[in-house]
């Protein structure tokens, strides 16, 4: 399961791995037809149509000209195929462009210009500033003397900040010229799609340094489709190429989502198919009986006495063909067409454009719009979804003293400013942790101001706040950090960074104070990840109080801590860390374990409180959607108190007298079980009362509940309209979605960050907020919107209209097919049950293609109620949720110009088509239409039919 990449080895391995030809194409010119046909015929409906069309070739049983089925069939296939072909052609063009781009590659020790597609695994690729990376590379050299380079990964994960990448330690200091001749081997896992992990080892061959194994992480790589920024040049070894890059592997085709309506249509199709079979059997038997009893007497039919062996089958098969139009051939095409139009309407909607950023809403998945109208549960993230994710440092508590409580802004608190001015050691240490315990990169702009490139909004807020308090993080030069404090510059050397993971919930850095050589561990993290690890004897009560107090105000809290390390303790630990970092299996888990060994006996410095404001219109949106019968669950990684506070402030739950909060907690199985049962009991009692009951569960209890008491928890989930799940991990979020889905609820998950991606992909409908945490969620989602409040419009207006329109369209498709089919069936009773078609081929085809399918398409413009009415009475959505629109009568309620055009134009088209066919002497309908139109009785009859039909 490993791949060994020999650097710069021109001879071997050329063939072992694929070259760098990117191919996103599904088809080639040769296999397009068979492959596409195969794909289309893997759908039941298409198989059915093909069978019918083939049966029609047998002239003994075909009631009409085979063209009446083959025509539409070929048309529909051609439409689907040409759409596929067009998409594929565009993919081919963009592939070609990428493949033929010229890049610098080392060949036989000389840099050469070659096309990107000719890069092989093991080649050394040179990049200049602003170049796009052609394949996955392991860095071996950059223009930066410290071996750093900056990349923009927007195309990969949607995050717009610059990320630093470093060359592995083994390559440090290799001369520019020698890089051409470098030899070595990289041991790396087989290609996968995880863009956050790369657990590999590098060993250089002599004469380069030594044959010591050097661990590689994702930090040492630059991945395909990233851009090199702020770095003059960089070079790296190609490890994954072509479609085997991280990007290429993660590109896979997402599982197509099926809407409730689609399932309904499929069921209906199945039911009609069964009905059709029954009709065919009955009529077939009747036909054979009639033939044997009556038709033999009808001398003019000349039935032979001895028929061929298949004689018994002929009449049933004829009826099968006659009834084949019962299943409308056009419905799939019509639905695809209107669905892509729904998606376009969402893209076009001016009222869903984020005014601040100008980003419009986007429907990435065009197939599931009508499900939006049937949502029953919305699972929402908190940070960045309900809130703005614009973090502002508001308060802090430093060694027991609260700052910022009066003014609400610690940065203006005179006491704190005085303490800073007086260089109070506690405060200075606190601010130092704020300033350097992070992964922020300071960038000096041309005007001299320092801009911070941060991956997390919290870190950004902390660093900026520290700078406002005169502890300015000025510069990061390789491992040396510079802090300017009161005019003096303090330097720290970063020894190790213990990165943040959502499981550890804290991050730490180990730095060496360059003045006195002390090694310090600086940590920040969630309270439960820091406070329990305080050194024995430290009073953490005030900090717990502070955390609670801040959480009550809806602020996000972080605890800051530090510890001085002894030289030998660090050295010993460093070795372990290094070993853990270079494992290939379970590296993340091993590292977490090693980190645990260092992160204890903290001296707690204080607590920071960061405000995250609610987005505009969140309470109203939640209230409106709640009225529409949609249940809300909040899933957040944040603390319980913060979550409850935010929930209260955005109408998520009602305050005490009206609402009731039930807690599920406990650390052990028994505790969780008891509390779960208690909550269930209360829930059952209060379910009849008009009271808002919500339950609150934290990640730990949730895990136990899901594992051991799944049934009870499921019942709770069904009873409860509101739930708050705090401190949950991304996978738990996805599990909760799964749980609700397993109860046959339509779920919508909305979130903005990378931690929501799994839940978004799991849910029936995933909505991403193109927010400040990058575009990761928005990319994975079916719909991306700029602000939470657009959800109201997305569901109530777009979802509901789409649902109603699709319901109308599919009903109509079935209706018109059944109508014409029943006419044929009734006619067969007066035509000796012999399977004669009442209609000729042309009329039948025109009916299916022109008269009925085109006009119904304009029903996409139908609005049964105005947008204002729906917003005022969101309860209307109940009808959609129950799937009731599917059974109401057919009606169109509003007629725009296009609808008029379609309806009247269709009437005109009917006469034009018929007149044309009546004018062709060879057609069966020659002059019939002219004769009809001359008869007054025809017009009187038509008028009667229309009027009676309207009545």
């Amino acid at each position: 399961m490993k791949r060994y990449v020999y650097i710069n080895d021109d001879e071997s391995l050329q063939e072992l791995y694929c070259d760098n030809q990117i191919s996103n194409r599904k088809y080639t010119v040769l296999n397009f037809l068979p492959k596409n046909l195969w794909e289309q015929f893997s759908r039941f409906m298409n198989q059915y149509f093909l069978l019918i069309a083939c049966l029609q070739l047998w002239s003994l049983i075909t009631p009409v000209n085979p063209a009446s089925t083959w025509g539409p069939l070929i048309f529909i296939f051609a439409v689907s195929a040409s759409k596929e072909a067009w998409d594929d052609y565009n993919r081919y063009l963009s592939d070609k462009k990428a493949n033929e781009k010229e890049v610098w590659v080392v060949r036989q020790g000389i840099k050469k210009h070659v096309q990107a597609q000719d890069i092989h695994v093991g080649n050394i690729v040179w990049l200049r500033e602003n170049d796009e990376v052609p394949c996955d590379l392991v860095l071996i050299g950059t223009s930066d003397p410290q071996g750093l380079c900056y990349v923009e990964t927007a195309a990969l994960d949607g995050e717009t900040d610059l990320k630093t990448r470093v060359i592995p330690s083994a390559c440090m200091g290799i001369d520019f010229e020698l890089l051409h001749k470098i030899k070595g081997v990289i041991e790396c896992p087989n290609p996968d799609k995880d863009i956050r992990r790369f657990d590999a080892n590098l060993r250089l061959f002599p004469p380069f340094i030594d044959n010591d194994v050097c661990p590689l992480t994702i930090k040492n790589t630059i991945l395909q489709s990233c851009y090199l920024r702020n770095t003059e040049w960089a070079c790296g070894v190609a490890v994954y190429t072509g479609n085997e890059t991280k990007l290429g592997m993660s590109r896979g085709i997402p599982e197509p989502k099926l809407t409730a309506m689609d399932a309904m249509i499929d069921k209906l199709t199945g039911a009609i198919f069964v009905f059709q079979i029954v009709v065919v059997m009955v009529l077939g038997i009747a036909g054979n009986v009639w033939k044997d009893t009556e038709a033999r007497k009808q001398w003019y039919v000349l039935y032979p006495y001895e028929g061929p062996w298949y004689e018994l089958l002929v009449i049933p098969l004829r009826f099968e063909l006659l009834c084949s139009i019962m299943i409308p051939i056009s419905i799939k095409v019509s639905l695809d067409l209107v669905k892509s139009l729904y998606a376009k309407f969402i893209d076009w909607d001016n009222e869903m454009i984020d005014q601040e950023t100008g980003i419009p809403s986007h429907a990435a998945n065009t197939a599931i719009s009508e499900d939006l109208g049937q949502v029953e549960y919305i699972l929402t993230d908190k940070t960045g979804t309900l809130t703005e994710n614009r973090m502002i440092f508001r308060r802090c508590c430093i060694s027991g003293i609260f700052y910022g409580n009066e003014s609400g802004d610690a940065l203006k608190d005179v006491e704190l400013l005085n303490a800073v001015a007086g260089s109070s050691p506690d405060v200075v240490r606190f601010l130092t942790v704020m300033a350097i315990c992070n992964t922020v990169i300071p960038v000096k702009s041309k005007t001299g101001a320092i801009l911070y490139k941060a991956q997390s909004q919290d870190e950004d807020a902390l660093v900026n706040a520290a700078a406002r308090l005169h502890v300015v993080y000025v510069n990061k030069n390789a491992n040396i950090l510079e802090i300017r404090f009161n005019g003096s510059v303090i330097q720290y050397e970063v020894l190790e960074t213990l990165e943040f993971t959502s499981d550890r919930k804290r991050m730490s850095v180990v730095v060496k104070d360059c003045q006195n050589g002390k090694i310090i561990l600086l940590s920040k993290g969630a309270d439960e990840a820091i406070l329990p690890y305080a050194y024995a004897g430290q009073q953490t009560r005030t900090f717990i109080e502070a955390v609670e107090q801040y959480a009550q105000l809806g602020l996000r809290t972080l605890c800051l801590a530090w510890r001085e390390l002894k030289e030998d303790e660090y050295q010993e630990w460093s070795l372990m860390f290094k070993e853990a970092s270079s494992t290939l299996v379970d590296r993340e888990w091993r590292i977490a374990e090693v980190c645990q060994r260092l992160e204890h006996d903290f001296e707690i410095l204080g607590v920071t409180a960061i405000e995250d404001r609610l987005q505009d219109g969140v309470p109203e949106t939640i209230e409106t959607l709640r009225k529409a019968g949609i249940n809300f669950w909040m899933l957040t990684g944040d603390k319980q108190n913060t979550a409850i506070q935010i929930a209260l402030s955005c109408n998520f739950i009602s305050p005490e007298p009206k609402g009731q909060l039930l807690l599920i907690d406990g650390k052990t199985e028994d505790e969780v079980c008891r509390s779960l049962e208690r909550v269930l009991l209360t829930m059952r009692i209060t379910s009849s009362e008009p009271k808002d009951v919500a339950f609150v569960v934290d990640g730990w209890a949730l895990e136990i509940a899901l594992k051991h008491y799944r049934k009870a928890f499921t019942e709770l989930a069904i009873l409860s309209r509101t739930a708050i799940c705090c401190r949950v991990t991304p996978s738990q979020k996805a599990q909760l979605v799964e749980l609700l889905k397993s109860c046959d609820y339509r779920t919508l998950a909305i979130g903005d960050g990378g931690n929501d991606v799994r839940m978004i992909q799991q849910a029936d409908i995933g909505v991403g907020i193109s927010g400040r945490e990058g575009l990761q969620a928005a990319r994975a989602a079916d719909y991306s919107i700029g602000k939470f409040r657009f959800l109201k419009r997305l569901i109530l207006v777009h979802g509901r209209y789409s649902y109603n329109r699709t319901a109308f369209l599919s009903q109509y498709s079935f209706y018109k097919s059944l109508v014409i089919c029943f006419i044929q069936i009734f006619f067969s009773f007066i035509s000796g049950v012999s399977g004669t078609s009442l209609f000729n081929s042309v009329s039948l085809m025109a009916y299916n293609v022109f008269y009925t399918s085109v006009p119904v398409l304009v029903s996409v413009l139908d609005k049964d109620l105005s947008e204002g009415t729906i917003m005022q009475h969101p309860q209307i959505l109940f009808y959609c949720q129950a799937g009731r629109a599917f059974v109401v009568a057919l009606e169109t309620n509003s007629f725009t110009i296009l609808q008029h055009l379609a309806i009247w134009g269709n009437l005109v088209a009917f006469y034009v088509i018929n007149w044309i066919f009546s004018a062709v002497p060879s057609s069966g309908m020659y002059t019939i239409m002219f004769r009809l139109c001359r008869q007054p009785s025809y017009w009187i009859t038509m008028f009667l039919i229309v009027a009676a039909g309207m009545g």
Partner: protein, 336 residues
Amino acid sequence: MTDTDQERDRNKETAFYKFTQQTLPACKPVLTPAWVITIFLFTGCIFIPVGLVTLRASRSVVEIVDRYDAECVPESFRIDKVSYVQDDSIPKNCSRFLKVHKYMKAPIYIYYQLDNYYQNHRRYVKSRSDQQLLHGRKYHGTSSCQPVEFNNDHAIVPCGLVAWSLFNDTFKFIRERAELKVNRKNIAWKSDRDHKFGKKVYPYNFQNGTLIGGGKLNPRIPLSDQEDLIVWMRISALPSFRKLYGRIEEDLDVDDVVVVHLMNNYNTYSFSGKKKLVLSTSSWLGGKNDFLGLAYVFVGSSSLILALVFMLLHLRYRRPYGDTIYLPWNRKSLSV
């Protein structure tokens, strides 16, 4: 106002913009009680007169229908009618007396009506070749004509079951010893004669084979002039149908007795079909058909009744239009 603002405003005017925002102007008919009642009243007022006029036109048509298939078999053959009709040696002459009850104005159309005769049977419908009818012997793709396709390896012209089973009863009409003039020309569609049946196609080998079906054709007359065949080959959609035989171009007075001398050749006995002779005048609306008029009167009067019922209901239970209190969810909260 900046340029871009103006541009955006101008954009808002365009139809495409309105289409994208789903704000195209639309008319939205709301079926308020007043509208519904008006429409029903209106329909009633229009339909009843139209119905009465139609009914009058239909009633003005005079029609004489005479079923002759049973009566025209001599007493001695009544037990086995099939052998009677199939036996060529027995003369098939038969006379019928038709009494005219009402003055009939020329032209009087003569139809023969067949009941329980499935011209719409699939085997029958398909068994013809339109191309051969037009092009004659030159055309060889006559496979659809089976089972009546070949005679001695030559394609039969015209081939197929439809032509083969041509109706061959003949009628002669005598009033007061004088033969009534029957016009047998121009009974088929002109378009059929001109474009569907060939002018140079002669039925040279029709009904020559071992299987004899219905009528024979004069081999010296081209198909385009064989109007009986053309009429017969316009197959009927229903198992009971009338076909035009000719026109009497003299008026018939009340109490005139028309003697019909007919040749009862055609076999409907084997499948117990009926044969009828129909004499009918026509109105501007065509033949006798009360259904259309009755349907109009029925629809018209039922919409009048509905209009009255709705009006009464509306007056009895008035309520303001668009009151949200009647919405289901509001009603529920009222009852709680």
